[in-house]
Symmetry: C2
Subunit: 202 residues, 2 copies
Amino acid sequence: MPERKPRKDAARNRAAVFAAADTLFAQCQSPEEVTMADIAAAAGVGKGTLFRAFGDRSGLIRALCEARLEPIRNAVEEGSPPLGPGTPPPERVPALLDAVLCFKFDHRHLALALEGTGADSPYRAEHYERWHALLRDLLEQIPGVTDSDFTAHALLAATRADLVAYLAGEKDVTREQLRLQLADFTAGILGTRARRGSAAEH
Amino acid sequence: MPERKPRKDAARNRAAVFAAADTLFAQCQSPEEVTMADIAAAAGVGKGTLFRAFGDRSGLIRALCEARLEPIRNAVEEGSPPLGPGTPPPERVPALLDAVLCFKFDHRHLALALEGTGADSPYRAEHYERWHALLRDLLEQIPGVTDSDFTAHALLAATRADLVAYLAGEKDVTREQLRLQLADFTAGILGTRARRGSAAEH
DNA sequence: AAAGATACGGACCGCTGGTCCGTATCGCAA
DNA sequence: TTGCGATACGGACCAGCGGTCCGTATCTTT
């Protein structure tokens, strides 16, 4: 196995970089305002360290996202309903989308940085591949849903980071409003209309 | 009126730049590979000219998009059904989305460049504002559609340039497949399910 | 034809992501 | 504890980008 434990200072620096990047991205309006040199300086680390640890800018952002995403990932893979496995698809799909939306809202700076990396990057990230696959499989099990593959893409597109940031930042849409709107939209697709006011938890 | 006719050479250069940029974007995989200097050189023009005419990179791309988008814009504003005004909303909405999708597909390099400009740019462009407003108004007139504002955003999100490019480029989805998928998806939202095989024209 | 207005173009600048390698630190073995 | 190979550090350094500037060329008007 090529897995070897990292040196102590390396591990500490990695954490420091994550923390610094998180803070900087959260403070700035646009992710482009945060340079690699800024992050290195804020973390008290040399630029070389930063690039050796993560390869390049998008590597850093991806790693940071992955780290912050772990709780949700766990909740989905082995948590309890409605997010966890074993939940009936018509209930799990909205829960999943809601979780994604909440993440994108709460970490919009980070998500924005991730999706703004490269040209067609959002779809080359493993996150996306995973979530899309899961969502597709769930939709497959719901009668009345045609073309679950595209539908999964389209539903996820409704949670795009820049859309969320735009609605939250320019249009003053609140978190709960957004959640409700997405839930309604999803219900429309699934044929599960009617219900109201199911935005608790998180 | 502050509108003054431009000098002859200026007009010719403008056209030359548009042509050069179009070609270059179409040839390259990612829009980032095309530099301003490249465009200037291909157009047989100095870099200064380019920046004076369009302000900056995103200005160029926006202007180019606007130019290429004009036919559709006309068709929507004063064309004949199903795109033009006077068409009943349940028929016009899918037509509009189909037109947008076709444009994004046929000009994906350009659309990709546009959406990749800045951080939250896609939503600051006038295109988007216009199309969203129109779509919202149409949805408003369709009974059974809740929250037409968000729904309009979500539907447009399904036509995002990078998603289209990804599906077309990596997943080998054809133009007609995509059109059908989007039409189905739209029908689901509108409550107009059932029909099949309505991908002609364009 | 001549002058004023307008546009040209490429040298130039600041800054960014990314590289490189001499030096410091770590972990292990004796 | 000491010593030594392996690993990681850090900041000077580089190439390339978007964008600016201003002396010069071209147009337009009378």
